[in-house]
């Protein structure tokens, strides 16, 4: 399963079932490792936050969903 959960360029048609504005750009990413961690720890707590101007492109937002492990911090990858 790929890491791209969703992608729409500013010129792509609006995906079915969404109300996105026609000119919206959106790229959603979840790697396999992130999926495993979400499955393991996401049932308890998840935080959602937006940070602005974190990329080269002006006025873009980076949204992040984050989870915590039993020690209250992130799990070290077994990669």
């Amino acid at each position: 399963m790929g890491a791209i959960l969703g992608f729409k360029s500013s010129e792509d048609p609006v995906p079915k079932g969404s109300d996105l504005a026609r000119d919206t750009f959106a790229l959603i990413i979840q790697t396999e490792y992130q999926r495993e961690v979400f499955k393991k720890y996401g049932h308890a707590f998840a935080g959602l936050d937006a940070t602005h101007n974190t990329t080269y492109y002006e006025n873009t937002s980076l949204f992040t969903v984050i989870v915590r492990d039993k020690w209250g911090h992130g799990k070290i990858s077994s990669k």
Partner: protein, 180 residues
Amino acid sequence: MVRFHLNECILEADINDEGCPVAWMISSNATEVTIDYFLAMLRERNPDVIPAKMMSDNDKAQLNAIRRRYPKSQLFLCWWHVLHAWQEHFITNHFSELWDLLKGWIRLKEDERWAQIQKLAPPSLIQYFEVHWLPIWPMWSARARKGRTIFEFSETNMLIEAYVFHIQCFAIKIDMWYDS
């Protein structure tokens, strides 16, 4: 290379004990429908994962999208953002005793402080709290955060801000590596 970069970013956040990012969206706007699209895709790919508690900024677009896609999750507001909103409604230097009370109020497990706050606060601030904050006290008060497991223990979203800072530092390191 993309895969390598993403995993390194996750590791960088992990090693610094700031929580583990489990999904990202880069978008050209932060409207409710765009956030809703993000959470809809996340829910679709991870149908069995329903967080018992979810935390967000005091941002209506985020809160509405969470309520729509994760209606069974209990919603908490990040304490940093709550206090930030409060302090913008009065001059804290002029009401230092009141400000100390408010900073402590959010952490109290029992509600015995509102009467004290009313004695010190100007009428406009009392009205602000009565209209905007008292009706949603379970979202911000420690009274609603009793008995959580350590998995659920988080009072602010600042770990996300912190990890984004590390990603930015890491990106700079990669740039320097490419340039050398």
